[in-house]
């Protein structure tokens, strides 16, 4: 799995809650290099992988065992079936759902400029401007984790052109750099990131900041007002907040006037690398039981697929948005772009993009978009 520290301990509590097992369970953290779990470079394939990039499932299906029949339906729920079911066979089960369109903020900072959380992209830009005019840095960003950047772009792209997002997710042609809508989304993102005084600490600081650090900047050191972070940021937000009552959350606003709010979904899916053992299948069965994840839900920062109760108020809102009919729900795009979405692809391109434009004013955006598209083209080929 790719979890660390708090998440790892929460998962340990889930394991402890399973009761007596006839086999020892050992947890192997692999970090962002999780896909090495399938590669020839890892010592022994783990028996069960909690894959944080469900989009990798179709790619790796030859290395994966199909799920036991009695569990297969759990992988066929809305959205998940697009990725976990290939040619009628279920290769994975959702364990943890991530709502990647949540923005955590400090209400006190917004009160200072007398504004409410934005309901439109344009309002958000306006809010950022007001905040920075009154000396408050609006945004914090954990650019040290590449996925934070791709999540941001995915939200903008999904909000501005759902059809482009879907076509990129489903087919290998056309590639992102060929689509004008993709370039437009980059420009929109550039408008927000390039506004002078947007980021706390300057761009170089962002690069060494991981997603929990970005949250600590907002809630611990109170140097910024907002941070785009998922539902799983909740425990970090609460444990580092200097004022436990000064915590707010809004969902990513619609980008086009009258459009739907984007909801980018991610998650960790359980997959069984081939050849699988009976013990591993048994563990999957136990972990798939709805009550198994209760300890983690109590800790906070955990959404279970299809469940809307038992969470904190903020997470309940997110959970409800996930099951609401008609919401623009889409899976994380970067996992589905293969090599292009990975560390040396979109992650790197967006990092360079951020370095070129961050806090520098909108004049530099068009040039930086061109460079980013050219860089992407190189990775695409």
């Amino acid at each position: 799995m790719s979890w660390s520290s708090q998440e790892l301990r929460a998962f340990q509590s889930v394991l402890d809650g399973l009761g007596r097992l006839d086999y020892p369970v050992e947890v192997v953290p692999l970090g962002d290099d999780i896909s090495t779990a399938f590669g020839p470079r890892t010592a022994r394939r783990p028996d069960l992988v909690m894959l944080p990039q469900p989009g990798l499932v179709p790619q790796h299906k030859n290395n994966l065992e199909s799920m036991p029949d009695d569990l297969a339906d759990r992988g066929r729920t809305r959205l998940w079936d697009e990725l976990l079911v290939v040619d009628g066979t279920t290769y994975g089960l959702p364990f943890k759902t991530a709502h990647k369109s949540a923005v955590w903020y400090r209400p006190s900072a917004l009160d200072k400029v007398g504004l409410k959380p934005p309901t439109q992209w344009s309002e958000w830009l306006e809010l950022n401007r007001s905040l920075s005019l009154s000396g408050i840095r609006p945004l914090s960003l954990g650019a040290g984790d590449g996925w934070v950047l791709t999540d941001f772009l995915e939200n903008v792209l999904l909000g501005s052109s759902t059809s482009t997002y879907q076509s990129l997710a489903k087919a290998t042609r056309p590639r992102p750099s060929e689509l004008p809508q993709f370039a437009a989304a980059l420009r929109l993102l550039g408008t927000m990131w390039s506004a002078p005084g947007t980021f706390a600490g300057g761009v170089e600081r962002l690069l060494v900041q991981q997603f929990p650090d970005a949250i600590v900047e907002v809630f611990g050191h109170r140097r910024a007002a907002m941070v785009l972070a998922s539902d799983f940021a909740e425990p970090v937000v609460r444990s580092f907040a200097t004022d436990p009552d000064d915590i707010g959350m809004f969902t990513f606003p619609p980008v086009n006037p009258g459009g739907a709010a984007p909801v980018v979904v991610g998650g960790d899916v359980m997959v069984l690398p081939k050849p699988s053992t009976d013990d591993a299948r048994d563990l999957v069965r136990r972990l798939a039981a709805p009550a198994a994840v209760d300890p983690w839900i109590t800790t906070g920062g955990f959404l279970a697929d299809g469940r809307v109760t038992g969470y904190s108020p903020e997470l309940t809102r997110l959970a409800k948005q996930l099951v609401a009919p008609g919401a623009a729900l889409e899976f994380d795009l970067s996992d589905r772009l293969g090599k292009l979405g990975a560390m040396n692809g979109l992650w790197r391109v967006l990092t360079d993009f951020l370095v070129r434009i961050g806090n520098r004013g909108s004049d530099v955006v068009p040039g930086a978009v061109e460079i980013a598209l050219a860089d992407l083209k190189k990775v695409e080929s």
């Binding site: 790719s2 660390s4 520290s5 708090q6 790892l8 301990r9 340990q12 050992e26 947890v27 192997v28 953290p29 970090g31 962002d32 290099d33 896909s35 090495t36 590669g39 020839p40 470079r41 890892t42 010592a43 022994r44 783990p46 650019a143 040290g144 984790d145 590449g146 600490g201 300057g202 170089e204 600081r205 690069l207 060494v208 900041q209 991981q210 997603f211 929990p212 650090d213 949250i215 600590v216 900047e217 611990g220 050191h221 970090v236 444990s239 580092f240 090599k339 990975a342 560390m343 040396n344 992650w347 790197r348 990092t351």
Partner: protein, 590 residues
């Protein structure tokens, strides 16, 4: 001659010799060669996989033989990785020079080493991963948490982002230097102390001073030690992998790429095995060349000189003046304080609660307690501790049992001269072989033997990897025993106990050095465990690495885990340091 058994009568009858006797060479006894057999078998654990990798490097994707795979050298990312790996070797060599100069300074400033010794040993005892954690904490970008950033902000108003682009090299090299400098200085210092008084007095009497003295006396005298030091540091530089992984934030990982990491990540992009094997072979070739040149001192047969290895009585040097002693004392105290600071940072961070450690620096007075240790214990630290104890102990025992007879064979087993040289050279090359050269085939072999996740298999691999250095060291020690002594011991019972006592006094430090170093090395290992072992072994370093993914927000837990992981090697090396240094230098005395 007759023999009766079970009613059968057997008779052996000799025959008259006919014809002339056949001339021939006296046969060398084959017995001693058997002493090398276990070492050969153990080394096969590395040699065969290395062979597989080399073959893979020269096999094109279509199965034909050729240099096609080396086209990977045109790939800019691979080139950068090779360049960075070479830069690390340069850093290692630079460190040898700096360490030598510092040893000279400490030699001339008596009194300096009183405090310096433990300050220099502790960094060497902790793992690279721990030292990476420590320096990442020190150079953290937030003024509330990072020591250097806080100091800089107070002094100059704002601070550069130390872990940012370009500057992260400073952090990496500091961590590497902090780990190794003490080792280098201690060894050179021991070498300088061992220069016979009459020699240095003669040189002084001839009026040779300054640089000329350095070139005429100290450099040649320290050549064998330079060999040992260079060898260890080059090995460390080639193994740089975990340091980059833990210190460098994601976006800069690409710039900091080293061959080991590049090779490991190539699995992600599905590069053909041949290309990555070619990368490994390139690195290996460069390193082997550097090592063979660097350790020429080791091969010299200086030990054949009948010299006294037993320490002569102390106080040969003229007593330094009170003033210079006081200067040395003060400087030593200041330097030690500075040098020990990273360890203080680590321990102090661990003593804060996870929340406080994530919010504020180690100097903060809030949230002190053992909460972080409790959190680390929850992450499976105790289990990993037991696992590591087992792996290190087995590896050390196996290594000693196999290395001692082999070293004896090479030193006194009567090997033909050329064979001795070949064996020594192959051990030198094997000692610096990067893990990547054998990791993949070895892991596959272990996996198909059904031993994946076996702690004993991992311990054996560690023993095999530690064997070359151990044999080289022990051989030097064995060889340094005066031949007359050995001859006496071999020939008769006369004064055997006295002979044995002397021999023991000569060898014991080297044996202790090998055991202590191997134990600490295996204890602190990350890369071998990471690349070769499977789940089921989970040594300490892997737990630490898992905790460190979200680095600063879990810095309390990470620091606590690092402290726990460091206690054993620190205590071990602090208690045996004098012996270890003597063991490391015993064979290389002039």
């Amino acid at each position: 001659m007759g023999l009766q058994s079970n009613g059968l009568s057997l008779e052996i009858v000799g025959r008259e010799i006919s014809g002339r006797p056949v001339p021939g060479k006296p046969r060398r006894p084959a017995g001693p060669y058997l002493l090398g057999l276990p070492a050969l078998l153990l080394s096969c654990l590395l040699l065969i996989p290395i062979g597989v990798t080399v073959v893979a490097a020269f096999t094109r994707p279509d199965g034909s033989f050729g240099l096609g795979n080396f086209a990977v050298m045109g790939d800019p990312a691979a080139l950068r990785a090779v360049g960075n790996s070479l830069a690390w070797i340069a850093v290692a060599l630079g460190l040898v020079v700096v360490g030598f100069l510092l040893a000279l300074v400490s030699y001339r400033l008596p009194g300096l080493s009183t405090f310096l010794q433990p300050a220099l040993v502790i960094p060497f005892a902790v793992s690279v991963l721990v030292s990476g954690v420590t320096f990442r904490l020190i150079f953290d970008a937030t003024p509330e948490r990072g020591t250097v950033t806080a100091a800089w902000t107070n002094l100059f108003g704002s601070s550069p982002v130390w872990l940012g682009p370009g500057l992260f090299w400073l952090v990496l090299v500091s961590a590497f230097g902090w780990t190794w400098l003490g080792y280098v200085v201690s060894l050179f210092r021991a070498g300088l102390d061992a220069i016979p008084d009459d020699v240095s007095r003669t040189v002084a009497a001839e009026g040779v001073t300054g640089w000329r003295r350095l070139l005429a006396l100290e450099l040649p005298m320290l050549r064998p030690i330079t060999g040992v030091v260079t060898l260890t540091l080059v090995i460390a530089a080639v193994r740089v992998f975990d340091l980059v992984l833990i210190v460098v934030p994601g976006p800069m990982q690409r710039d900091a790429d080293v061959l080991g990491l590049n090779w490991w990540r190539a699995a992600d992009t599905g590069e053909p095995a041949g290309r990555t094997a070619a990368l490994g072979v390139v690195l290996f070739a460069i390193v082997a060349a550097v090592a063979v040149i660097g350790v020429r001192g080791l091969r010299r047969r200086r030990w054949a000189m009948p010299i006294s290895v037993v320490r002569t009585d102390p106080a040969p040097r003229s007593k330094p003046s009170k003033r210079s002693r006081r200067i040395g004392w003060t400087v030593g105290f200041a330097v030690s304080l500075f040098w020990i600071l990273p360890a203080v940072v680590l321990v102090a961070t661990a003593l804060h609660s996870p929340r406080e450690a994530g919010l504020r620096g180690w100097w903060s007075l809030d949230g002190l307690g053992l909460e972080s240790f409790a959190a680390a214990a929850n992450a499976g630290l105790l289990r990993a501790l037991l696992s590591t104890v087992l792996i290190s102990t087995v590896a050390t025992l196996v290594l000693l049992v196999i290395a001692v007879p082999t070293a004896y064979l090479v030193a006194w087993g009567g090997l033909p001269h050329w064979l001795g040289r070949v064996v020594t050279s192959s051990f030198v090359v094997l000692a610096v072989t990067p893990v990547q050269m054998y990791a993949a085939p070895l892991r596959d072999a272990i996996g198909s033997a059904g031993l994946a996740g076996s702690r004993v298999a991992l311990a054996l691999v560690h023993a095999a990897a530690g064997l070359p250095f151990a044999v080289l060291l022990l051989r030097s020690a064995f060889a340094s025993a005066p031949p007359a002594l050995v001859a006496e011991a071999l020939q008769g019972p006369a004064r055997q106990s006295a002979v044995l006592a002397t021999v023991q006094r000569t060898y014991r430090p080297a044996l202790v050095a090998v055991a202590v170093l191997e134990f600490a090395l295996v204890w602190n290992d990350f890369i071998v465990g990471f690349l070769i072992s499977g789940p089921g072994t989970t040594p300490l370093s892997l737990v630490l690495w898992g905790e460190a993914r979200q680095f600063s927000s879990s810095s309390g837990t990470v620091a606590a885990a690092a402290v726990v992981a460091s206690v054993v090697p620190v205590v071990l090396l602090l208690s045996f340091w004098q012996t270890v240094v003597r063991g490391l230098t015993v064979g290389s005395k002039p």
